[in-house]
């Protein structure tokens, strides 16, 4: 029975890690995602004491391989890899995985930032529109005629007395 070893990684984001695994050949069909840790299985079908939430079953790795797991920790996922599989899925593979992870993580940050900007812009437009409507209403009640023009993003409301 091949012993399991644990390798620390700096990867913390599940979505980016799954995208990186997919890029290295382990797409969503080959990676189990569990809400709570599940036991890993050895090459002889034996249940091991090690557990993980992200698991690549041995069938997807090689005929004599053991499951590979990832355990989430606050400082980053820990990879649980058997001594046997360490040759192919050890530090060098994890280094490639991390490089891919970084690309996906940065892309995700940019996507989130763009979504945040869109959200803030929508909120700003909502506030400006509410201001505009409130000023129109108040001005008309007070006897002003409102001329509205737009330049770039700025709205100009010129309030003209109906009669002087």
């Amino acid at each position: 029975m091949s012993a399991y070893i644990t390798l620390t990684t700096p990867m913390t984001d599940e979505e980016s890690l799954l995208a990186a695994l997919a890029e290295l050949g382990f797409d969503e069909r080959k990676v189990e995602v569990h809400a709570s840790p599940v036991e890993l299985v050895g090459y002889q079908g034996d249940r091991r004491t090690q557990t993980a939430t992200l698991i690549i079953r041995r069938q997807h790795i090689g005929p004599a391989s053991n499951d590979i797991g990832f355990v989430s920790t606050p400082t980053g996922y820990k990879a649980v890899v058997s001594a046997y599989d360490r040759r192919a899925f050890g530090p060098a593979w994890l280094s490639k995985l991390d490089a891919s992870y970084q690309v996906h993580w940065h892309a995700k940050q940019q996507r989130l930032a763009a979504e945040e900007r869109r959200h803030l812009e929508a909120e700003r437009q909502r506030v400006v529109e509410a201001q505009r409507a409130a000023i129109h209403e108040r001005a008309q009640k007070l006897g002003y005629h409102v001329k509205e023009t737009r330049e770039g993003g700025t709205i100009r409301l010129a309030l003209v007395r109906r009669t002087y």
């Binding site: 700003r124 506030v127 400006v128 509410a130 201001q131 505009r132 409130a134 000023i135 209403e137 108040r138 001005a139 007070l142 002003y144 001329k147 330049e151 770039g152 993003g153 700025t154 709205i155 100009r156 409301l157 010129a158 309030l159 003209v160 007395r161 002087y164």
Partner: protein, 206 residues
């Protein structure tokens, strides 16, 4: 030659005839009670700009009819403003000056130099007891409009905006002109959405 200014507004229809570039100068000795721009009273340097640079900015603003000097007290910086007025008039723009002084108080050489290149002067202290939002271009009924050239006349007053609100992309609200208290409330009342913005330019009071 430099000017001490409080702020500018590149385009306004509520500070004289047509579309105007508005310059609020910094510093006023009159301190009229009830003035809406007390932040412009101090003579301490606020924003010092070269006359030539400001003239370039004004002349680079498309579609304006002229420039309006207000404040603060423009005649406290009459020499520099006269130079600025000359530069913009040479390119066809008109000049309107708001002053808290009465017309007959403007007798100094620098005062005359500015008056010579001014098309319209609106003169007189802001008198809170005579406050009016019914008069075009003026904050209180004692103030007077003097047409110094033939470029404008009483006919140009009709249809002029009394108040202007700019809702800027930054969220800043600029309010300028002569709003009634009710209208200001509409922009500033805490429950109003407009009050969520920062950087309100309070309206000129004279």
């Amino acid at each position: 030659m430099r000017l001490n200014i409080a702020r500018v507004l590149c385009r306004s229809a509520a500070n004289g005839p047509g579309e105007r570039f508005v310059v609020w100068v910094q510093g006023c000795p009159l301190a009229c009670p009830g003035c809406w721009n007390p932040d412009t009273w101090s003579f301490a340097p606020r924003s010092l700009v070269e006359v030539t640079a400001l003239a370039e900015e004004i002349l680079g603003t498309p579609g304006i009819d002229g420039v309006t000097f207000t404040g603060g007290e423009p005649f406290m910086q009459a020499r520099a403003l006269a130079a600025l007025a000359r530069a913009v008039r040479e390119r066809g723009l008109s000049v309107l000056v708001y002053t808290g002084y009465e017309r007959d108080e403007l007798v100094g050489r620098a005062h005359r130099a500015l008056l010579e290149v001014t098309d319209v002067v609106v003169s007189g202290r802001y008198v809170e007891a005579q406050r009016s939002t019914e008069l075009p271009w003026r904050g209180s009924t004692n103030q007077r409009i003097h047409f110094m050239t033939e470029r404008y006349s009483e006919a140009d007053i009709e249809g002029t905006a009394a108040v202007e609100v700019h809702l800027e992309t930054s969220g800043r609200v600029v309010l300028t002109g002569f709003p009634s208290a009710d209208l200001v409330q509409g922009v500033l009342v805490p429950d109003s959405p407009a009050s969520t913005s920062a950087g309100l330019h309070r309206p000129r009071s004279r």
